[in-house]
Amino acid sequence: MKLGLVIDLDTCVGCHACAVACKQWNTSGTTGPLTDYDPYGREPSGVWFNRIRNFEVDEYPNSKTINTPMSCMHCDDAACVTVCPTGASYKREEDGIVLVDQSKCMGCNLCAWACPYGARELDEDQGVMKKCTLCVDRIYDENLPKDERQPVCVLTCPTHARFFGDFDDPDSQVSSLVRERGGYAMMPELGYKPVNKYLPPRQRPASPMMEKREGGEKESLIGKWMKRQKDAFNSLGKGTH
């Protein structure tokens, strides 16, 4: 089995309900608490397994808002597991879920450094690493009705933008969604083979388009090199471009 999530960027409205439900379930679950720092103060902060960001793709008037919920991708090639010196981080043989055994973790942060997707957060109070468990304490719980044996984020999502299932089964809902809708992995070039997939926004009837200007004049080799160096300089540290 290869369990994971499919997230539909077409329907996600960025409401953060999945993140809140996740926090609620997991803070009292087996990996809890998801510690909060200064929860009623000026700068409330804390551990979350799932974070939602909003982006704008393309330029006006062709722009579109994309909401991206992100949690652990339960990568096939999970460097967070291989870098862990204590064996606290592990990937389960039977279903591919990546977990942290908190009784073994020494809080070195190396796994969080190795994760490209920002899926791991140190609990500063307990000194151990925490991350999405794919609700491992729900999905196998035989006391729950069958249709509730799913990650709580999937159950909560009001627009039904999240799906849970087995990617090894070609007939599962997640597999067919990926096949039919062109589901893709984020930042695939790092080679972590993330299991979670994202469905791109659907094609809509074309809205009036602005002409895009064709690329400018040809540049000389020297000019290109100098531009590269200028870009390199401009990308140093912090500063205005």
């Binding site: 704008e56 073994k104 070195c108 920002g118 992995a185 930042m187 790092l190 140093l236 540290g237």
Partner: protein, 310 residues
Amino acid sequence: MHPALSVIFFTVTAGAGYGVLFLLGLARLTRLTPEASPDQVTAMALVGLLLVTVGLLSSTLHLANPRNAWRSFTRFKTSWLSREAVFAVLFYPVCLIWLLFEWFTGNTVATNVSGVLTSMLAIVVLVCTAMIYASLKTIRQWHTALTPFNFVLLGLLLGALILNLMLAQQGLTSDALEVVSLVLLLLAGMVKIIYFYWIGQPAGPTINTALGFTRATVRLLDVGHSSDTFHTKEFGYQVERIRLIWLRAISVGLAFVIPLLIVTGLFGPVNLPTMLLAVGSAYAGVLVERWLFFAEARHVVNLYHGAQRT
């Protein structure tokens, strides 16, 4: 990346200690310090061992849960951090056996064999430390073969200068060691300058590949959190550009240029006070270098916080 002082101090100080022990382990065989007596070699090696120990102790300061540190010996097969821990501990008995031979038997075959073993282990630990960083695909400024070269060369460089200082303190001189220091200064300086150039070149993931929208511009509208998170604190650190350029110049000046001027004798004869200056300057320079190594590293998570590229 957030530059954690305990890790900076650890990598520089332990690196210098391993540098001293590497050179001393080979000193008899290569006739690096021909006149030093067994007592003197042992004493100098103990200084190296002290540096290593102080460094290693400080490295545990950045652990959030040091009670489980002993478990870090258990994942030798996959984790460079585990390998570093194992070799760093293995280093002690080997080094002590060598020192016993050196102290009691002087320049014998047993001393040389155990000395070479000690030297090899010192390099292995340095490489393991560097590979912790170099193996991370998420930070392109670290994920390069230059990283282990850099760590090893700078460790050896500090080791060579400290050894020079200790020889001068005992009224000994070694032409061979001065040549070694010169070569290390030039080589390490060159690798560092290549590194600065190399990390400036555009490469690595961008906000487009991070989100999978590669045919249009992408910009962050809202990052989704209202105050600092673990990720902004750990990975969000950035230095002002002007400060960065100054710090690069300062680190190269202190670590390579000033020691080079001293070792080549341009500041007058090479003696105890000038060597003291060289060691102090190089140590400070490498500390700045290591601080920059962290501060200049840009983790790909920043792309999800709005950075356009790494």
